[in-house]
């Protein structure tokens, strides 16, 4: 682990030059994988995340099928080489927990009742990790689900907020995550319904409230980026045979 920096914020700028309410740079590529039904490659600062979606497809083993709805399966996995010290491949307790709450983050927006007996499989591979992989994974998964054409109430957008040098900041980078005072990963619908929320560190009630409000601002920014990426990829494609064109307003909000 590197040394703790003396200050995280100097003259209103963070270690990487961002302001306190600024996200790292985000790059989105839709459908990079052709075998999966939907996929998304996401670069979030120095994080590199691949997400793929399969389904709805038959769920095996059969006894796990639900007669009333699709079973959502979410696998968050870090590549062995994604961090400084190689991690043992396969599930860790951390990745099992992240997979569970990641799955919970999506079930609200998926119309699982439309697809009884099936599985909707979401796979997240962290190829390069630099703090915030669970929220970056959720953002990529959200786009991969849309890319797979799975009916959803809306997109899920995620970001982390935290506290460094006594200030609430958006989207923690590695140093801020390691040495900061708190980390709050949040995911929500475009309308601000929270589907994922964790926290560790130390915050007062009022600091937490401030953090939550900043998370909403961050998620709104992420949502715009996600929406833009979908429009760029699909509006042209559908406009060619214009009867199928998706009005922009329909790519949207779970709460509308």
């Amino acid at each position: 682990m590197s040394e703790k920096p003396e200050h995280f914020i100097i003259d209103g700028k963070r270690l990487d030059g961002r302001r306190v309410d600024e996200l790292r740079s985000v790059k989105i590529k839709l459908s990079p994988l052709d075998r999966a039904d939907g996929s998304c490659y996401l670069e979030w600062g120095r994080n590199k995340i691949m997400a793929a979606v399969y389904g709805p497809r038959e769920l095996h083993p059969r006894h796990r099928q639900d007669m009333t709805k699709a079973v959502v399966q979410y696998r968050y996995n870090m590549a062995a080489f994604s961090v400084n010290d190689r991690i043992r491949p396969g599930h860790s307790r951390r990745s099992i927990e992240i997979s569970k709450v990641g799955r919970d983050a999506f079930e609200y927006v998926l119309f699982t009742k439309f697809f009884p007996k099936t599985a909707i499989d979401i796979f997240i591979e962290v190829l390069q990790a630099d703090a915030g992989t669970r929220t970056a994974g959720i953002n990529a998964a959200s786009l991969a689900l849309a890319d797979a054409g799975i009916p959803m109430r809306g997109l899920i957008s995620a970001c982390a907020v935290g506290k460094v040098d006594g200030e609430i900041v958006l989207d923690l980078m590695k140093e801020e995550d390691n040495f900061g005072e708190a980390d709050v990963p949040v995911a929500m619908t475009a309308g601000g319904k929270i589907t994922h929320l964790q926290m560790d560190g130390h915050l007062t009630r009022d600091e937490f409230y401030e953090a939550l409000k900043l998370a909403k601002i961050g998620c709104d920014k992420v949502y715009k980026l996600q929406r833009q990426a979908l429009i760029e990829k699909y509006s042209g494609e559908y406009a060619e045979n214009d009867e199928d064109a998706i009005p922009q307003a329909q790519i949207g909000d779970a709460d509308e």
């Binding site: 682990m1 010290d85 307790r93 951390r94 099992i96 927990e97 997979s99 569970k100 709450v101 919970d104 079930e107 609200y108 709050v184 929500m188 619908t189 601000g192 319904k193 929270i194 589907t195 994922h196 929320l197 964790q198 926290m199 560790d200 560190g201 130390h202 915050l203 007062t204 009630r205 937490f208 409230y209 939550l212 409000k213 909403k216």
Partner: protein, 259 residues
Amino acid sequence: MSDDVMAEIHRDYLFNLVLKGERDDGRAFDEFRDISIETGVAGMAEGSALVTLGDTQILVGIKIQPGEPFPDTPDVGVIITNAELIPMASPEYEAGPPREGAIEIARVVDRGIRESKAIDLEKLCMIEGEKVWIIFIDIHVLNNGGNIIDAASIGSIAALLSTTLPAERYGLGEDSPLPVRDIPVAVTAIEFGGELLLDPSLEEGKLAGTVYTVITNSDGGISGMQKSGIEPLTIDQVMRVVDMAGTAAVKIREKFLEV
């Protein structure tokens, strides 16, 4: 199938009660079930506590041994938390390695103890980079009557408060109490029928769309949170739980832990 029908009927019953501002067992929405704590129940452990929270019974045992620190934190002791949902505790549990439910419980309890800095881990370092004390917190759920996380959290800190560092056994000096300096308390709420209910019973927990845990310290600060379950929460609901949890945690801490 009959189970499903019963579940539906029961759900409607509880739902209608909630609309009237009531719960099945007569509690207020922000009221915990009775809690009892007995420490020193497992004689071979360095510390232990048997906690009952309503019908839930959990035994937490602490074992401590010298070992190597993690390479990235060479100068502090190690905490390892594990939860076992043993088949004795519920007809729904099966034997085998911990699954995601048990792992989540252990990690949330661990988060509260770690992030509140309740254990002074720096005092558990003997030789930097070579030898530190390793604290094993093992949570044994004996009877699942709902809200395991809160009971496990109370049991873990109660057990830690009763723990002795077994230095003599390893020829490392005199035994001493484990340095514990805070009392994190987890308070779990569910959202049901648009209302927020603390300390869900087994039935309430099964019907809940969302389970949300807030862990607070003695200074009122928040040291951990976990939202689980598929239904979303609004920012207002989250803040309401934070406030309810803070108040409830103060009562729990006063009543049972600062003895």
